[in-house]
């Protein structure tokens, strides 16, 4: 099941950093990165999530699957959508949720990540959802927590944001069908700082996408981006020409030190998605954005709110995808420890 061809080494994470995601039966135990997961597992996540979307449309939006489980959200970086949808997902599965606000926690008194994890583990946590500014933080946690605990990566540094990638895959599948092989996807904007783009590219390739294009100025592209299996474009109109899906990324001003761009206005003029530039994509193209959106910086308001935009569907799908990943990972850990037998 592990794709051996995809073995790129990341010195921060080690050779086999994805193997710890699977248990001995090849089932999902942690969800840290898309790398190393086969299309069967990604499809299983999407099918399970599709089932949960129907729960989210009911009057009573709650099922008893994870009753008695405790899920701890550990967010070392700011987040609105991701943290709240992880929280809602856990609550809709009937789990108890702890939200640790790092700025008011003992971390600000100097406690290490490992000590924080061990203390929360001593409170019988079954799952950690971790967002951290350092690449590899979620892997580090997965290596050190007790064997019955699952770890979900809610974004680590510039590395990965796998649940975001999967909610994007679900949104594309709902709009464009299950067969991705004839689709053209353009990812536009700050690829350099974007863990979302990296995870999207891995997921799209695993699901056998026809064509992935990345569109950005040279200063916002990593040096070896072609190795991920994408076509690089520096011009927006050419890059999104005949695209079925246009994914806009946020300009990550908080991560930019140094003069990467002349000005926001010039960026908008060259790379901003407007109702005029969108005409280069297919007439039925969908417009996506992981949020938060900067109106007038990477996307024109009327496009973000327009008929082709599925930005708010992405948010709803985020709950279903996170429910799917939570129930799949905690399902396998229960199998391993054999509790309740």
């Amino acid at each position: 099941m592990v794709n051996k061809n995809a073995r790129a080494t990341n010195p921060l994470l080690g050779q086999d950093h994805w193997n710890i995601q699977l248990d001995e039966n090849g089932r999902l135990k942690h969800f840290l990165t898309i790398e190393g997961l086969g299309s069967e597992i990604l499809t299983e996540i999407l099918d399970t999530a599709e089932n949960f979307t129907s729960v989210n449309k009911r009057t009573v939006k709650k099922v008893p699957l994870l009753r008695g489980k405790t899920i701890t959200n550990l967010f070392f970086e700011a987040s609105t959508r991701t943290r709240t949808t992880f929280e809602l997902a856990a609550k809709r599965l009937s789990a108890d949720v702890l939200n640790i606000n790092i700025s008011t926690s003992a971390t600000s008194k100097g406690e290490s990540l490992l000590d924080t994890l061990y203390n929360l583990q001593a409170m019988q946590t079954d799952m950690f959802v971790i967002r951290h500014q350092d690449s590899g933080a979620a892997h580090f946690a997965a290596r050190h927590v007790a064997p019955y605990i699952s770890v979900l990566n809610a974004g680590d540094g510039r590395h990965a944001h796998p649940t975001q990638a999967m909610l994007d895959m679900l949104t594309i599948r709902q709009n464009k069908g299950h067969d991705f092989s004839a689709l053209r996807v353009a990812i536009v904007g700050d690829i350099l700082h974007s863990r979302v783009a990296r995870s999207q590219i891995h997921a799209l390739n695993t699901l056998n996408i026809g064509d992935i294009r990345v569109v950005a100025p040279r200063t916002l592209l990593p040096a070896d981006i072609e190795k991920l299996g994408v076509n690089v474009h520096y011009n927006l109109q050419q890059g999104i020409a005949d695209a079925d899906v246009v994914i806009m990324l946020r300009l990550q001003k908080e991560r930019m030190q140094g003069a990467m761009l002349p000005s926001e206005l010039e960026y908008y003029q060259q790379y901003g998605l407007t109702s005029e530039t969108l005409k280069y994509a297919k007439p039925d193209a969908i417009v996506m954005h992981p949020g938060p959106i900067n109106r007038g910086v990477e996307i024109e308001s009327c496009v973000a709110d327009g008929m082709q935009s599925v930005i708010l569907d992405q948010v709803s799908n985020g709950i279903a995808v996170r429910m799917a990943v939570m129930s799949m990972t905690l399902g396998t850990s229960a199998q391993q420890t054999g509790d309740d037998k």
Binding site: T48, G331, Q335
Partner: protein, 170 residues
């Protein structure tokens, strides 16, 4: 072992028992709900035979199972499809084989998350021994006693047939 009648014969019998029971209880517009997957096949045929007005509903109980912590989540591609309003409606719940009663427990829990039905009538093609919960069927095609290591399953949807297997007990 007793001979099992064909599913078609049993569905015919369920249909006549059910219409008699509905007439007796003066229920005119029930909601028929089939449990995925076998129950939904049976419900589809019953729904046709009884010419019910309300569209057939289906229930996928995988999020309500009580063995999740042992076997994990096994999604089916088909989610539940229930009418928006089951408050005060008369429900006919249909399953293929009633054995432990745990499926029916899960199904009733899910139904109550949609609303408070006026009544639930349980219809099962086969009722075999091995009950673990105080649940019984109101309308049964055939009763059956099997050995502990025997398992009966409905296969389908076209044609419907019974499959009896020997299982290894742990």
């Amino acid at each position: 072992m007793t001979k099992i009648h064909s599913p078609d014969t049993l569905i015919q019998s369920l249909s006549s028992q059910l219409s008699e029971s509905l007439a007796q209880k003066q229920i005119t517009d029930p909601v028929m709900v089939g449990i995925h997957t076998g129950g939904a096949w049976v419900a589809e045929q019953l729904h046709k035979k009884l010419k019910l007005k309300e569209p057939l509903a289906t229930l996928n109980i995988s999020f309500y199972r009580d063995d999740f912590s042992r076997i994990g989540v096994h999604p089916q591609v088909t989610p539940s499809t229930l009418p928006n309003e089951i408050e005060n409606r008369h429900i006919i719940l249909v399953d293929d084989v009633l054995q432990t009663g745990r499926t029916i427990r899960a199904a009733m829990n899910e139904l109550f998350d949609y609303g408070r039905p006026a009544s639930i009538t349980l219809v099962c093609l086969l009722e075999r021994d091995g009950r673990e919960l105080p649940i019984r069927a109101d309308i049964v095609g055939q009763q059956l006693t099997l050995r502990d290591d025997e398992q009966v399953k409905l296969t389908g949807p076209e044609p419907l047939a019974f499959d009896i297997k020997h299982v290894t007990l742990d």
